[in-house]
Symmetry: C2
Subunit: 213 residues, 2 copies
Amino acid sequence: MAGSKGVQGRQAEIMHAAAQLFNDRGFHETSMEDVAAAVGIKKPSLYHHVKSKAQIVGWIHDECVRTVLPPLMGYLEEDIPASEVLRRVAMDIFGLLDSHPGYLRVYFENHRDLDARSKTRITKKRDEYYDAVRRTLQRGNESGELVVENPNLAAMAFFGMCNWGYQWYQADGPESAAEVGEYVWSIYTAGVLAPGTSRLLDGAATAAAVQSA
Amino acid sequence: MAGSKGVQGRQAEIMHAAAQLFNDRGFHETSMEDVAAAVGIKKPSLYHHVKSKAQIVGWIHDECVRTVLPPLMGYLEEDIPASEVLRRVAMDIFGLLDSHPGYLRVYFENHRDLDARSKTRITKKRDEYYDAVRRTLQRGNESGELVVENPNLAAMAFFGMCNWGYQWYQADGPESAAEVGEYVWSIYTAGVLAPGTSRLLDGAATAAAVQSA
DNA sequence: ACGGACCGACCGACCGGTCGGATCGCTGAC
DNA sequence: GTCAGCGATCCGACCGGTCGGTCGGTCCGT
């Protein structure tokens, strides 16, 4: 149901314009008249293509999920290290920020503006995505590849690094999405501490373990 | 100006109730009548204590900045390793999530609902905070304590880990704010990769570097 | 009597959404 | 060739409702 091909044609155009506006001005500060104007028509005409404002939000959410969830499910079936899965996830998320500017802000900040049915559907998908990453971390820990004491918190930390991009990543910035994804992933896996510095340092004892060229 | 002591008394009560409501229902879905009801009065009475809805948002923003910026400025004047500064920043941010539930959501999602004057004031403070962390990373890199190729991206990754907490951290969750802050910091500094695994690994070659109790 | 806290009633603006009708491009019968 | 018919697209005008904010006045402690 809901068509696995996603929104197309004029509706896709509307979705795209709306995502830009919602991102730039905010969802509630953007009227349906603004959205209509952005695609060159008037409000009543817009309602010929769209059932409600909430429906547009639903499209945007679906587009986000459609873009990143199936790839992740594919990675899980390949026989690759957990860290490689994480790397691809990071790349996918920044790739989404790059190819769909504005979409992730709507996804993260306007979940409650979905109609009830879409909300449960999207929430389920969101949990699937979250769970897949958590299980990946758990698997990495069990195989000895990773050290993950708390897969739940570790997943949140990972998503934080990636998802926070919606607050600062600019598609026309100095770094490409792939570069950013790769860099963020490298910090998550290897940390920023210079090699040779003790892994188990507590705050007070840190002052001693400083220099190592 | 604006009083360095922050909002107090009845106004603080209003600010607190509003932050909760804005967090739970959303800013635009919360009417001034709702805020008034939350403190046990009617809307016209609320306007006896408050100039506008935007003013409440301003209070909440100021409260966030007031809570975390001065401490960070203090850390910079102490002679401690960069990683220790980062650790304290992480603790401060999760501490804020703990002591001021809802505030950070308003801070991150309702910046544009500030009046023009507050917006410039808060933006400046936000940039100060960001810059302090970036400079800390740079200093850590120069001293050899850290390996930070891109301080700007590294700062964003760090803030991502911490700030994203507003999306998931619950004050009544299983882990305390201090535990979460410490854990997130440990991932950021040391990474999740098991020690012994090559730092410069590409995805395919990782599978070999596995066990180490 | 004075000021701080409070409230019922109200206003203007805006916004999501609707209605009835106009226009346009295509199809097919003749 | 042309023209009736039709569905898709478009729009001016309008509605119901909500919300931020105001006004005039009451109540109460001092």
